[in-house]
């Protein structure tokens, strides 16, 4: 089989993934080297607290064309993916989550993105049956609002598994917004986008999922960073409320002049007050979300900091070094500890 001349980069964010990084790396590397003449795998460590980094450093001595970018602290997967996309050099970049996305799909996806001259190809997973009905109706509400009113054009149940063309990678890395949701960016930058449906794999017995509160917060964030539609809603609400208040004020004035001895309507007054406060607080909440957003964006800070970058360095003299593995104090101690475990001795 001849290798494709297309240069493919794969980006995967890592966070406490020491348990699955090796099978992931093995599979991706195998798929890439059997299909492409030039490829790279960029792993972005989002400040793991387990042994992910030493594990990967060890793997770098075994696998070629792999890079590890270590972020200075935990920035979250969106920023980690951004750091990866800023660094990839391929004609196409494939972003995948190591625990759930199947590397075997890469060749077909790349072939499709190439033949249809696609900007971004986004993965869609089937509805998860084990999610609670509350969770699912929340998700439905989110997509209904996001697509119907905010015109975000978000395909339902998209995952982070995506193929980006070089053009769209460049477009996305020019966006320096602090609030980053790649699925909303994908729509924003345009180009020719499409989706594909796939069945996620489970590298972990117990997949990591989002809690309900976390999901709701994410929903709010995504809306706030990508559209001002809620602000416009607040405007309409404020206008209609003020109109209503004006009418009411007129009515009260007239009633006071004409009628005598108007009884104080306790229930009516309190109802009116609480309704007004309710609406006002909603407007305030919307405003404060956007003020927070403004503050975040106006700081102009870098999106992330890189603590270090490591590339594959396969020491070829390993065969000659088998007989010295057991050195307790070598002058090159650091390299010694990074040596890959070797097969049977010579």
């Amino acid at each position: 089989m001849t290798l494709s001349d297309c240069f493919v980069s794969v980006v995967a964010p890592l966070h406490d993934d020491a348990d699955i990084v090796e099978p992931f790396l093995t599979e991706v590397t195998h798929v890439l080297e059997t299909h492409y003449a030039n490829w790279e795998l960029v792993l972005v460590d989002d400040d793991s607290t387990d042994t992910t980094v030493p594990r990967v450093l060890d793997l770098l001595t075994k696998f070629a064309c792999v890079r590890l970018i270590r972020l200075s602290r935990n920035f979250g997967p969106e920023i980690a993916i951004t750091a990866g996309l800023d660094s990839v050099i391929g004609d196409f970049a494939v972003v995948m989550m190591p625990d759930s996305d199947p590397p075997q799909l890469i060749p077909d996806l790349i072939a499709r993105a190439r033949s249809e001259v696609m900007g971004i190809l986004s993965g869609i997973r089937p509805e998860r049956a084990r999610e609670s009905s509350l969770f699912r109706s929340g998700a439905r509400l989110f997509y209904w609002y996001a697509n119907k009113f905010a015109h975000l054009d978000l395909p339902k149940n998209t995952t982070d598994f995506r193929v980006y063309s070089r053009q769209s990678v460049n477009a996305i890395s020019r966006i320096k917004d602090q609030g980053r949701y790649l699925r909303t960016f994908s729509t924003y930058v345009g180009y020719h986008n499409a989706t594909f449906v796939y069945e996620p794999i489970q590298r972990r017995a117990k997949p990591r999922t989002r809690g309900l509160v976390e999901a709701i917060a994410l929903g709010f964030d995504m809306i706030v960073v990508s559209t001002t539609h809620p602000l416009r809603m607040a405007t309409w609400m404020a206008l209609s409320l003020s109109l209503l208040s004006a009418v009411h004020a007129g009515y009260v004035l007239v009633a006071d002049l004409i009628a005598e001895d108007v009884p104080t309507p306790w229930a009516g007054l309190s109802l009116q007050m609480s309704a007004m406060f309710c609406f006002m607080f909603v407007i305030l909440a919307v405003l404060s979300e956007y003020i927070g957003r403004l503050l975040g964006e106006s700081s102009g800070r870098p999106l992330y900091y890189v603590a270090g970058e490591h590339s594959s360095s396969v020491l070829i003299a390993d065969a000659d070094r088998k007989n010295v593995v057991t050195d307790s104090i070598g002058e090159l101690g650091t390299t010694e500890s990074r040596r890959p475990p070797l097969g049977s001795g010579q």
């Binding site: 003449a37 030039n38 660094s87 050099i89 970058e309 020491l315 070829i316 090159l332």
Partner: protein, 374 residues
């Protein structure tokens, strides 16, 4: 009664350091000097296949000593080898926005501190770069040397000073005789022979440890890298320009005067693989891994990455690639400094191993030796 040695000094290795040292010992101390070189002429290996950069300090913003020494040695080298220096191009340093270890402001401050000339690049040059990825571009004063011209000039000077040069001869081992002289066993086209000398200077770069281990001496921990230097025919927009992107996993595209082309170096992709000499293991012949593994060019990677910073790189035409063994001190892995190794052997004090990384810092080691030998 001790017999006089045939030579005051035998210098093993006709690279730039070995040849220059031969001249220095001859002119400064009037020694009888012999220079041995295993290739068919001097400067065939690492002195040829490299970036041809005459450092002026800019390259080492994180090591003040290395930067400053380059800064001091630069005019000395440029003056001594005036005819071998290519001044026909402008040199620019671009500072990357992301992943750079220095910012533009820090780089400017560093250059002020070592008094290296620096000015903003003209707009036409700045326009060549992707401004989202490059923070600033500076014009600097840095040159390239022409190693073929350098070879000719050096051979003429060795001849003028009546220094004996034997080509195609490799020193295999050094042994201390009872009378203090050193015996050097060599092999060449004319078969094995032995020479005697008072001093032996081991300037064999990637083969330093070959001579040491064959002499029964402890080897020096050294790291070797197989490097690929692609030679490119650059588009006319890059003619007359030398560009270095600082300071991290970036690249440098410099004129390569002997061929009239540009050489491309990339921090991440130039090195194909590496290995280490260890004091407790047999010496690994650089010739073996060098020839043993398939050479698959890393050029597509270098071009793909450099195009992101300098879009014109996509229009370069690959002419061919030089492959060479580069040797570094493991200690320079951790920082930016590039010290010169100058080590007298414990068992044979008159055997001195010398290894330098940058051509113009040769004066440092000679000044150091002059003091040590005095």
């Amino acid at each position: 009664m001790s017999r006089a040695a045939e030579y005051d000094a035998v210098i093993v290795g006709g690279g730039f350091y070995g040849s220059h040292l031969a001249l220095d010992l001859r002119t400064r101390r009037h020694w009888r000097v012999l220079l041995l070189e295993r290739e068919h002429s001097i400067f065939q290996r690492a002195s040829y296949a490299n970036q041809a950069r005459v450092h002026n300090g800019y390259h080492y913003p994180r090591s003040l000593v290395t930067g400053l020494r380059s800064r001091i040695n630069f005019p000395r080298f440029v003056e001594e080898f005036s005819d071998c220096i290519d001044r026909s191009f402008d040199k620019y340093y671009a500072i990357a926005r992301l992943s750079s270890n220095v910012t533009a402001a820090q780089f400017r401050r560093f250059c002020e501190r070592i008094e290296a000339p620096l000015e903003p690049a003209p707009p036409a040059v700045v326009a060549l770069f992707d401004r989202d990825r490059i923070e600033a571009v500076f014009r600097v004063r840095e040159h390239a040397f022409d190693s073929v011209a350098l070879n000719r000039a050096m051979l003429a000077r060795l001849h003028d000073h009546a220094i004996e040069v034997r080509l195609g001869v490799e020193a295999d081992s050094v042994r201390a005789l009872d009378d203090g002289r050193l015996e050097v066993a060599c092999s060449g086209a004319e078969g094995p022979e032995t020479l005697s000398a008072t001093w032996v200077f081991n300037c064999t770069y990637s083969r330093l440890n070959r001579l040491l281990t064959r002499s029964g001496l402890a080897s020096i921990p050294l790291k070797h890298e197989l490097v690929e230097v692609p030679l490119l025919d650059v588009p006319e927009t890059l003619h007359g320009l030398g560009i270095t992107v600082m300071c991290g996993p970036f690249f440098s595209v410099m004129p390569f005067p002997p061929r009239g082309l540009h050489s491309l170096h990339h921090v991440r992709y130039t090195v194909h693989y590496s290995w280490q000499d260890r004091s407790d293991a047999a010496w690994i012949d650089p010739g073996r891994p060098f020839n043993g593994l398939a050479r698959r060019s890393n050029l597509p990677y270098m071009i793909a990455d450099s195009t992101r910073f300098l879009p014109e790189m996509a229009r370069c035409r690959h002419v061919d690639s030089l492959w060479e063994v580069k040797t570094v001190l493991p200690r320079s892995e951790a920082d930016d400094s590039r010290p010169i190794l100058c080590r007298r052997d414990h068992a044979i004090p008159n055997l001195v191993s010398i290894m330098g990384a940058k051509i113009d810092n040769v004066y440092d080691v000679e000044d150091y030796l002059a003091a040590a030998l005095a």
